[in-house]
């Protein structure tokens, strides 16, 4: 699910230099950089989309149209203009808040109208999955660290290896195949049947559970031998209190950085799960849009996804600074 937690500790190299104007100035600067990043990303994708073969714009109608009809259609879509004119038109419309209308997926329907109804479903699944993976993953990690070397630990480790090594679609297929049969759960999603929500939500949580469990376990094993933990024990703190007040709080700092990104991407939908269970969410929309060469829809989705990426990183840094008072965000000297 999203960014692997294991890479995080290296990523954050907080500088302890003096603040140059506080969180607000920092946020403004970051926001400016983020906007530029998003603009570059959508420009690159815009140009790449223009490299796609022309036939794709007609779908099944290609053979039925003659040369002139094809040209007329392309002209009406504005695709015969030179690329810089197309790019200019795109940006002019974008800054007027107009994302354009879909050209193939659902012709002449505004892009926003296609995307917005899909959001609530993906959001519900995403939030449930994050909830499940945080609670289950963290408790599994804590227990595994306590039982280090025993059976439960081996089971958790095996689970982590399995989820990380095997391609998601393979185990998702088998879960769909056998869990539906064994627990008599419906095989396809149906908004009115609450029983059809269980499996997709759990499946969506599986990789998150593995990455949180892995991180918490490793962190606790490393941390439990440190001096401040020994001191806390010597003071007479109970094991549980040491865990919650010291270890978990420290373990949460790097997690806080990736949490917003993970959250946003999970909420934006999972391609596999939404397509396996036919959930009308946002997961498969992007691929549908690219394969049908529905440029305005692709453009809007790329805008959405790259914003999600950038906002997630930004929110992660802020959240990390809030969780850990030692970290100062301002003037991080370029190196992220």
């Amino acid at each position: 699910m999203g960014v692997p937690v294991e890479n995080v500790p290296i990523k954050q190299q907080p500088t302890r230099r003096k603040a140059k104007g506080g969180l607000l100035a920092y946020s403004l600067k970051r926001a400016g950089q983020s906007v530029i990043t998003i603009l570059i990303v959508i420009t690159v994708v815009f140009l790449l989309m223009r490299l796609l073969p022309i036939e794709g714009y007609f779908g099944d109608d290609y053979d039925r149209l003659d040369q002139f009809q094809r040209e007329a259609i392309l002209r009406s879509m504005g695709l015969l203009d030179p690329w810089y004119t197309q790019l200019k038109n795109f940006y002019v419309n974008l800054f007027q808040g107009d994302l354009g209308t879909s050209i193939i997926y659902r012709p002449r329907v505004p892009v926003a109208e296609i995307i917005i109804p899909k959001i609530p479903i993906s959001v519900k699944f995403g939030l449930t999955a994050i909830g499940i993976s945080l609670t289950l993953g963290m408790s599994m990690g804590v227990l595994a660290a306590r039982e280090k070397g025993k059976l439960f630990d081996s089971v958790v480790q095996g689970y982590i290896v399995f989820i990380n090594a095997v391609p998601a679609v393979v185990y998702l297929l088998f879960i769909q195949l056998y869990a539906t049969q064994y627990f008599k759960l419906p095989i396809l999603f149906n908004a009115r049947n609450p029983r059809s929500w269980y499996l997709p939500a759990i499946c969506l949580a599986l990789s998150g559970i593995a990455s949180y469990a892995m991180w918490i376990r490793r962190f606790m094993v490393d941390e439990l031998n440190k001096d401040y933990i020994k001191l806390a024990r010597a003071k007479g703190m109970s094991n549980t209190a040491v865990m919650i007040k010291h270890v978990l709080r420290n373990a949460f700092v790097p997690m806080a950085q990736t949490l917003p990104t993970t959250l946003l991407y999970t909420v934006a939908g999972s391609l596999y799960i939404e397509s396996l269970y036919s959930i009308p969410g946002m997961g498969g929309l992007l691929i549908d849009a690219i394969s049908r060469q529905d440029n305005p829809l692709v453009q809007a989705l790329v805008l959405m996804f790259s914003s999600i990426g950038v906002i997630g990183l930004f929110a992660g840094d802020i959240l990390m600074a809030l969780v850990d008072p030692r970290i100062k965000l301002e003037s991080r000297g370029g190196a992220r």
């Binding site: 290296i10 391609p167 297929l173 088998f174 195949l177 690219i290 790259s306 990426g309």
Partner: protein, 320 residues
């Protein structure tokens, strides 16, 4: 003789002169029969599960390579026809002749699976090698050359924000499906995580105290790199290489899933899983999903376990 006299006796100038590296002196002070690779091997061998994974992997890969030369192997693309009826032998259950059965048009699944494993491994090897080479080169430059850091970080931030799905899909559409297309799609931005990882490692190791000390003593940069920095990176590189293989296989499965995989005459693990998926609702035909998925999982899991164990073993801190 008092302490002061001793101190004065040392020529002040000599305190600030660089002590050149002297092989004999170095031997005298710190001789041990420590050998990096031997210790790595010893630590690795202690990990039973990793040794098992290595064994499984070696056996499986050897078999994959020699399979076509064994007797009684069938052509993976040959459509078998029943001699008496003249019909294709479709969906034949696993039996003595077709060990894994046949698929929906009568091709031998056993032969297709091993051919598919070869294709997927070849793809994985290509992609992983390119990712590692580009990743290390870019990452090392990014980490060492301080002037580049700012610029590279900005470039990274832009490129890393392009969703992988878009890159895969766009390239698969712009170029027609083939092995080359897949390699391009998976490497064009695939080196990014690797380069960031190497960059962070280089930044961390570059300014460690022991490297500063080495530099002050006048150790040549080449020696610092080969003796102090590389042993650390070897473990990291091996890990990334081993982990890249499950990742590339997953990428191939993904592309096949969305219909942009390799053409069907070129069986691959992704293709086979995808073909099996289309039949999985018919209970008697599930073997067409189960066999390729099992082989695929054994490969990815053994690479994953092996890579992790090797990187632990190659970390000099575990050599006590």
């Amino acid at each position: 003789m008092s302490v002061n006299d001793t101190i004065n006796a040392i020529d002040e100038q000599s305190l600030f002169e660089i002590a050149q590296y002297d092989a004999e002196e170095a031997e005298r002070g710190g001789y041990s029969d420590y050998s990096y690779w031997r210790s790595t091997l010893r630590v690795f061998m202690k990990n039973k599960i990793a040794v098992l994974a290595l064994l499984v992997m070696v056996v499986l890969l050897t078999f994959t390579v020699i399979q076509p030369y064994l007797p009684n192997q069938k052509d993976p693309n040959f459509i078998h026809i029943d001699q008496s009826t003249g019909r294709q032998l479709r969906n034949v259950q696993p039996n003595e002749e077709f060990r894994f059965g046949t698929n929906s048009i009568g091709q031998d699944l056993w032969a297709r699976i091993w051919r598919g494993t070869r294709t997927s491994m070849l793809l994985a090897l290509f992609v992983a090698t390119i990712r590692v080479i580009v990743g290390i080169t870019v990452g090392a430059l990014w980490g060492y050359v301080r002037k580049l850091d700012r610029f590279m970080t900005e470039v990274y931030n832009v490129l890393a924000n392009v969703p992988t799905t878009i890159v895969y899909t766009l390239f698969a559409y712009i170029l027609r499906p083939s092995l080359r297309t897949m390699i391009i799609a998976m490497t064009v931005l695939g080196w990014l995580p690797m380069s960031r990882f190497i960059r962070n490692q280089v930044v961390i190791i570059r300014d460690r105290e022991y490297n500063l000390a080495s530099r002050c003593l006048g150790t040549p940069t080449s020696r610092i790199i080969t003796r102090n920095v590389l042993p650390y990176l070897v473990s990291v590189i091996m890990l990334q290489f081993a982990l890249a293989i499950p990742l590339v296989i997953a990428g191939e499965v993904f592309l096949s899933y969305i219909g942009l995989g390799l053409p069907l005459y070129m069986p691959s693990l992704g293709n086979l899983v995808n073909e099996g998926r289309q039949l999985m609702m018919i209970r008697t035909l599930r073997y067409q999903l189960i066999y390729p998925s099992t082989i695929l999982s054994i490969i990815t899991i053994s690479f994953y376990i092996m890579g992790n164990a090797f990187s632990d073993a190659a970390d000099p801190r575990t050599h006590v």
